[in-house]
């Protein structure tokens, strides 16, 4: 009985969707080919990481503008269906479903938080629509080997493994990992604890804190009192800046290695001030990076449009979009199922080199592009940006 109802409704659903599609095709641009819709599901408001969401949205808007200006993909215009996941898993999953069923998106891009991505993967699998990850680091995203899920960007265990040689070379014996209580923070902490077993003389202590905190002085006092050689800060929220500022305030003398590109965000120096001097940040971006012609087009257009340089994760997002474009061109269709089939085989020029997916089933390197290098850079004076920062070490 219940199964029957399900069948009927699904059939009815398909019928209504087809009808809607016909209606759309009929009423819209009758002569031009049908538009391609891409779903952008990102944290655009609190409690999500809205700062990053904003950067994602800017990148996506710019890409659509450039592509449409150049005549679209195969003559078809591209439009974005934008949804806010509010950093919440359940909202992200339902937003993704809306993007698929309501906006008929060919692929979903712009996902940010690993927690949200993990929930969205189920939707991607259920509807057989490609889900493109770029800066969601949880190993599980590709390790689960869902055929619909792709990642152009780094993942935790690899990052952690690359960080160990750095810790050894710098001679750190006692390291504190200050991790926010999210998939991002704790996921890294766990991966790092695992990876550091390769260096037995390094001791690691994980200090967890509430992601949305406004006051880390107590936590930093405790960290300072244990007199570590280095503190690795893993957070995206205000705590990046707080840990530095308040850490120095309570007499923390250790080197601070802080999250990825956050020191390049516009509010870094204005909130941290003097305390930011000496901070080391790992990143996937460096002027020594070989930026391709595609990459240069992106950076120039981005600077022209928004007045500042894009961060490295925006490069990866750009490559995400181009991967979808390549798949549509290759298969000659914007059908999601076709894209799922085609995507694993696409190769194209990315922003920092050729992009292709590793397709090693059963491992984390499934539908995964990982040709990035990791740079450790040091900020030597107030106001230092990406160009001024001193390159301390490179891990490839």
């Amino acid at each position: 009985m219940i199964n029957n109802i399900g069948k009927i409704s699904r059939r009815a659903l398909l019928a209504s969707m087809t009808a809607a599609g016909l209606l759309l095709a009929g009423s819209g641009s009758a002569y031009a080919a049908e538009d391609i819709t891409l779903g952008l599901v990102s944290p655009l408001s609190e409690p999500g990481d809205a700062r990053s969401g904003d950067a994602i949205k800017k990148t996506a808007d710019l890409w659509v503008k450039l592509i449409n200006g150049a005549g679209g993909i195969g003559g078809r215009q591209v439009k974005l269906a934008v949804f806010d996941d509010q950093g919440k898993v359940e909202v992200g999953a339902s937003a993704m479903e809306r993007a698929i069923t309501e906006a008929n998106a060919s692929a979903i891009l712009g996902i940010w938080s690993s927690s949200v991505a993990l929930a969205q993967m189920e939707v991607a699998k259920g509807y057989n629509v490609p889900l493109m990850a770029f800066y969601s680091w949880s190993d599980d995203i590709t390790a689960k080997n869902y055929p619909q899920v792709f990642r152009i960007g780094p993942y935790n265990s690899q990052i952690a493994a690359q960080m160990v040689p750095f810790v050894k070379d710098r001679g750190y014996k006692k390291v504190v990992v200050l991790a926010e209580d999210t998939a991002y923070g704790l996921g890294f902490a766990k991966a790092f604890e695992e990876a550091v077993k390769a260096a037995p003389d390094v001791t690691v202590e994980v200090v967890q804190f509430q992601a949305q905190t406004q006051d880390l002085t107590a936590v930093m006092s405790k960290v300072a009192a244990s007199k570590p050689d280095a503190v690795i800060v893993q957070t995206v929220f205000s705590a990046t800046n707080l840990s530095i500022k308040q850490g120095r305030e309570v007499g923390l003398k250790a080197d601070i290695i802080t999250g990825w590109d956050w020191p390049l965000l516009p509010d870094f120096w204005s909130t941290v001030g003097e305390a930011g001097v000496g901070v080391v940040y790992p990143t996937f971006s460096d002027p020594s990076l070989n930026i391709t012609a595609t990459g240069k087009t992106f950076v120039d257009a981005y600077k022209a449009a928004y007045g500042h340089e894009p961060a490295i994760f925006q490069y990866y997002l750009w490559d995400n979009f181009n991967a979808v474009k390549a798949a549509i061109e290759k298969s000659g269709s914007s059908e999601p199922a076709k894209l799922v089939e085609t995507l694993p085989g696409v190769t194209f020029e990315g922003t920092i080199g050729p992009v292709f997916f590793r397709n090693e089933a059963g491992t984390v390197n499934f539908h995964q592009w990982d040709k990035f290098a990791m740079f450790f850079k040091k900020l030597n004076k107030v106001g230092d940006g990406e160009k001024e920062a001193e390159l301390v070490q490179v891990a490839k």
Partner: protein, 313 residues
């Protein structure tokens, strides 16, 4: 409305659930309706507690969240089916609510909102920080009742749960308990003087409404299939309060009207981005609180003077 109409309402919901599942709705609309049942159960039970018994608890969302995480625990660790949790969790959360009542009801008046607020706040911190148990903000995934994306069963279930809520509400309000609750709300001292067992009535109200909140949470967990600490925030509590207040606190169908109004607004303005949705919803709620103090129902019934007595519970 007559008593008969009150008893027809549950049937109406069950029938609507069945009918809609047969017609087949767009997933988005189905989503909207199914999650509206979650909010109806919450706003409705909060209305029973605050509007009828006069006990303004801010831990209601906390109880629903406990129901949801409890469901996940039973399904994942206990290996139970989701159907069993829909029966077990209301009972478990009723006990939890009773415990909370035993503790929180020792205080009176405006201190009750404050102590329940503190309990909810502490629970929220725990959910996020104890990530080895709750999986923190990574989210806790559990298998859904029905794998895949077919909503028809949930529409039927939602209709039944909404109907069930109205049956419980009728039983409470029209029964002795409802009278005692309202006596306590209107004047606790007089009720005490009349020999009403104040504490027992309050605990009963706490437990029954907690059971409904637990049911809502369990339904949510079984439907959404992934839980995160963001489920329990002051914003969510405000959302539920706004629904009850906009519709009409202390009115039988107040929360229903409130849920319909707020969920519709949310559906139509969500395209503008979450900030706009929030500004609009909280703005409207605030205006209702300031100018139509008894909610939309009271205002509408005043426009139709002859009906006043019938709409009032």
């Amino acid at each position: 409305m007559t008593k008969l109409t009150h008893h027809l309402v549950p049937l109406l919901f069950v029938a609507a659930g069945l009918g809609l599942s047969l017609i087949g709705l767009r997933p988005v609309v189905a989503d909207l309706l199914i999650l509206s049942v979650y909010y109806l159960l919450l706003a409705g039970s909060w209305n029973l507690l605050a509007g009828f018994a006069g006990q303004y608890s801010f831990a209601h969302i906390g109880l629903a969240t406990a129901g949801a995480y409890g469901t996940a625990a039973l399904v994942i660790a206990g290996g139970l089916s989701g159907w069993a949790t829909l029966v077990i969790m209301p009972l478990a959360v009723a006990l939890l609510g009773g415990g909370l009542g035993l503790v929180a009801l020792r205080v009176r008046g405006v201190q009750l909102p404050l102590i329940t607020f503190a309990f909810a706040g502490a629970f929220a911190v725990f959910l996020a920080a104890a990530s080895d148990i709750t999986n923190g903000s990574m989210g806790l995934q559990l298998p859904k009742l029905v794998p895949g994306f077919d909503r028809s069963l949930y529409l039927v279930l939602g209709g039944i749960l909404a109907g069930l809520f109205f049956i419980v509400q009728n039983w409470m309000i029209d029964g002795k308990l409802g009278l005692l609750m309202q006596a306590i709300r209107d004047n606790e001292d007089i009720a005490h003087g009349m020999g009403v067992g104040i504490f027992r009535v309050k605990i009963a109200a706490f437990m029954i409404t907690a059971a409904i909140a637990g049911l809502a949470g369990s339904f949510y967990a079984n439907y959404v299939g992934v839980l995160a600490p963001s489920m329990l925030s002051m914003g969510e509590m405000g959302y539920v309060v706004a629904m009850a207040v906009i519709g009409g606190l202390g009115y039988r169908y107040g929360p229903l009207i409130g849920v319909v109004i707020i969920r519709s607004i949310e559906y139509f303005v969500r395209g503008f981005g979450a900030e706009y949705t929030l500004v609009i919803i909280t703005g409207i709620a605030l205006l209702v609180v300031l100018f139509f103090r008894e909610g939309v129902i009271a205002y509408v019934s005043r426009l139709m003077p002859r009906q006043t007595a019938r709409w009032r519970s």
